[in-house]
């Protein structure tokens, strides 16, 4: 059965807390700038903002090493930044510039960085899950082959962090993937970012069982619900899950209860949520929760906050300048990279 894991009391190391705060603010302010740039048509295509959900990416990715792999969704700007893809390269990608991490091919939904083992956002809900299974199977192959139906897994595997939303749990690919991962005891952590809406459809209108962790648990996968607005709770649960997976315990599932403060995409009129609900969630803004705790602990004051905001603003300004100065890929290059005959980047 699933449990909600609370944040451990008094665990907040202030140094770590300030880094988390900074990371969440990087994501928040970057995306606010992106929204502005989108309305100025500097960024085209789609743009799905993570604002409100920052504690999920920050808390979970804290547990990963550079040798671990990440598979994310079309709402993956936060994970991409935290993985170390430079902000300017991400923004150049949004601008459709050749300087972007995919030469402008991928755009907001399809950021990739193979060297950082960041295997993409994905425009198709749940499509990344079986890919994560394959990445995890590759890890097991390299450390001695897949487990055999109940055998203990290999200790020390790199793990695959697989992000997806509550909407993905209604897809068949979720069930195929969790079954495969559990069957072969693969080193995957399934991070379900439950922001309560599959685009415009509320959880209870999508799922007969709204406790999504129970679905994963039915595959014999340890599954917990976590307060996704509390970065400490997220980090604590993620560390526990990732450590277990690394130690050969097989896949784990975290349902991170969160909320996006903005609409689904820049096109979404957001008619399906009432203002009271949005306000209730905004009152639990993950950045405010952490900042308040840091202030109470004496680790943060107004000047400290201003310093972080100034640093983030400077990074964003530099990223915008870089993207503005970038070059679009030439039309003639659009036929490249369809197959291996198109050459290497």
């Amino acid at each position: 059965m699933t449990v909600i894991l609370p944040a451990p009391r008094g665990s907040l190391g202030t140094g770590t807390g300030l880094l988390w705060l900074r990371d969440m603010l990087r994501i928040r302010r970057f995306e606010e700038t992106c929204a502005q740039l989108y309305s100025e048509t500097k960024i085209r295509g789609f743009l799905h903002l993570y604002i409100g959900e920052e504690a999920v990416a920050v808390g979970t990715m804290e547990a990963l090493t550079p040798d671990d792999s990440v598979v994310a969704t079309y709402r993956e700007h936060g994970q991409a930044l935290l993985r170390g893809i430079p902000m300017k390269v991400i923004l150049a990608e949004f601008y459709g510039r050749a300087e972007g991490c995919c030469r402008g091919r991928g755009g907001s939904m399809h950021l990739f960085d193979r060297t950082r083992r960041f295997f993409g956002g994905n425009g198709i809900v749940a499509a990344g899950l079986p890919v994560a299974v394959g990445l995890a199977l590759a890890e097991r192959m390299q450390s001695g082959g897949p487990g055999r139906f109940g055998d203990p897994g290999h200790v020390g595997d790199n793990v695959v962090a697989c992000y997806f939303g509550d909407g993905a749990v209604a897809e068949g690919e979720f069930h195929e993937s969790v079954n495969l991962a559990a069957l072969w005891r693969l080193p995957v952590v399934f991070f379900c970012e439950n922001n309560q809406y599959a685009m415009g459809t509320a959880l209870a209108r999508s799922h007969s069982q709204t406790n999504l962790a129970i679905k994963a648990a039915s595959y014999e996968v340890p599954a917990w619900q976590v307060d996704g607005m509390d970065v400490e709770a997220v980090a604590s649960a993620a560390a526990r899950a990732v450590e277990a997976v690394r130690n050969g315990a097989g896949p784990h599932f975290l349902e991170l209860l969160t909320y996006r403060f903005r609409a689904h995409s820049m096109y979404d009129p957001d008619r399906y949520r009432d203002k009271g609900e949005i306000e209730r969630w905004r009152a639990r803004d993950p950045i405010s929760i952490l900042a308040d705790r840091l202030r109470e602990a004496g680790a943060l004051d107004d000047a400290g906050m201003r310093g972080i905001e100034d640093d983030v603003a400077a990074e964003i300004a530099a990223a915008v300048a870089f993207a503005e100065a970038g070059q679009p890929e030439s039309v003639a290059d659009l036929t490249r990279f369809v197959t291996s005959e198109g050459g290497q980047p």
Partner: protein, 321 residues
């Protein structure tokens, strides 16, 4: 050697040559595959490299994509043609496009083997010809073998290449025997071949229909007609040069496949040949195909599939034009 044995030998050679080659699919391990194409491979190469999977076609292809991202060369077996559709998203939206989407950073050498076509007394989902869906999708390579020699060679070439390949195996030809020369010089994977030279009418086919067309050519010879038969072998990219060369000499073209005609390979071939060799054509390009209906119950199979009569009738119509 039968085509099944040739494919088995080709897979064994590929696995022996490169430890990155893996096989995954339904019943491929202990059972050796529904058609026994992977017979004995799990015993030889281990359960880790020949994986029995649950009935999860999307999971099979998606898993192969993840493996390929980390340097493996997975070979997926889709048990029957109609079972490929649950994997359609992974094939068309992921496997085909990840290289392009990542601007070349991701290379996905995944081979997806699909026994396809009818003629074995089966039913829909077990007798279909889905090649046009995949040939329509940029980023996928699509090939079809027609004989044991090509099966042996082409499966190894597909696995060794750096792109995704939809590898179509004509299941009605699985048990037909022909010699396989493992040391013979191989044609390139993406090259059509003149299977029989001829001067009166050009007949183009691939996969299961190559044998049928060769049989038709033998009958036609008895009636004093010389048919050229071209085995396409590669459906994407198409290699129409041998077809154009032949049509420039015969002036007449008949295209044969089991798949329905609407938006099919034959439609593409007719369009391209018309564009490239319009003034060489003495008659319209004619097509002999399955009908534009779902694959029928097995007792109607003979009426649905192109046969000697329908092919020779098209040849006569072309000549009479």
């Amino acid at each position: 050697m039968t085509m099944v044995q040739a494919l088995n030998a080709g897979l064994r050679a590929a696995m022996g040559a490169d430890p990155a080659v893996m096989i995954l699919g339904e019943d491929v391990g202990r059972l050796g595959g529904v058609f026994r194409v992977t017979d004995g491979l799990q015993a030889e190469f281990g359960e880790d490299r020949v994986l029995d999977t649950p009935l999860s076609e999307s999971g099979i292809v998606g898993t192969a994509i993840g493996l390929a991202m980390r340097g493996y060369r997975p070979v997926c077996e889709i048990q029957f043609d109609g079972f490929v559709f649950p994997a359609f998203n992974q094939l068309v939206s992921q496997l085909a496009k990840l290289r392009y989407r990542s601007a070349g950073a991701l290379s996905l050498p995944v081979t997806v083997r699909i026994p396809f076509g009818g003629g074995i007394g089966a039913v829909e989902h077990h007798s279909e010809s889905p090649e046009a869906y995949f040939a329509h999708t940029a980023g996928l390579r699509v090939v079809a073998c027609s004989n044991p020699q090509d099966a042996y060679v082409m499966v190894q070439q597909s696995i060794a290449g750096d792109d995704p390949v939809i590898f179509l195996e004509p299941k009605r030809r699985y048990w037909e025997k022909a010699p396989v020369d493992r040391a013979a010089a191989a044609d390139p994977l993406h090259a059509a071949r003149v299977a029989r030279a001829g001067t009166d009418v050009t007949v183009v086919a691939y996969g299961p229909m190559v044998r049928t067309c060769l049989d038709a050519a033998a009958v036609a010879e008895g009636e004093g007609m010389s048919l050229a038969v071209i085995d396409l072998r590669t459906l994407s990219p198409l290699d129409l040069q041998p077809v154009l060369d032949s049509v420039r000499s015969t002036g007449r073209l008949v295209v044969v496949h089991e798949a329905p005609s609407n938006c099919s390979l034959s439609a593409e071939i007719a369009a391209q040949v018309t564009e490239e060799a319009f003034f060489s054509l003495a008659a319209p390009v004619l097509r002999v195909t399955g009908y534009d209906i779902p694959y029928p119950p097995s007792r109607f199979e003979a009426a649905y599939l192109p046969d000697l009569d329908r092919i020779l009738d098209a040849v006569d119509r072309s000549r009479a034009y």
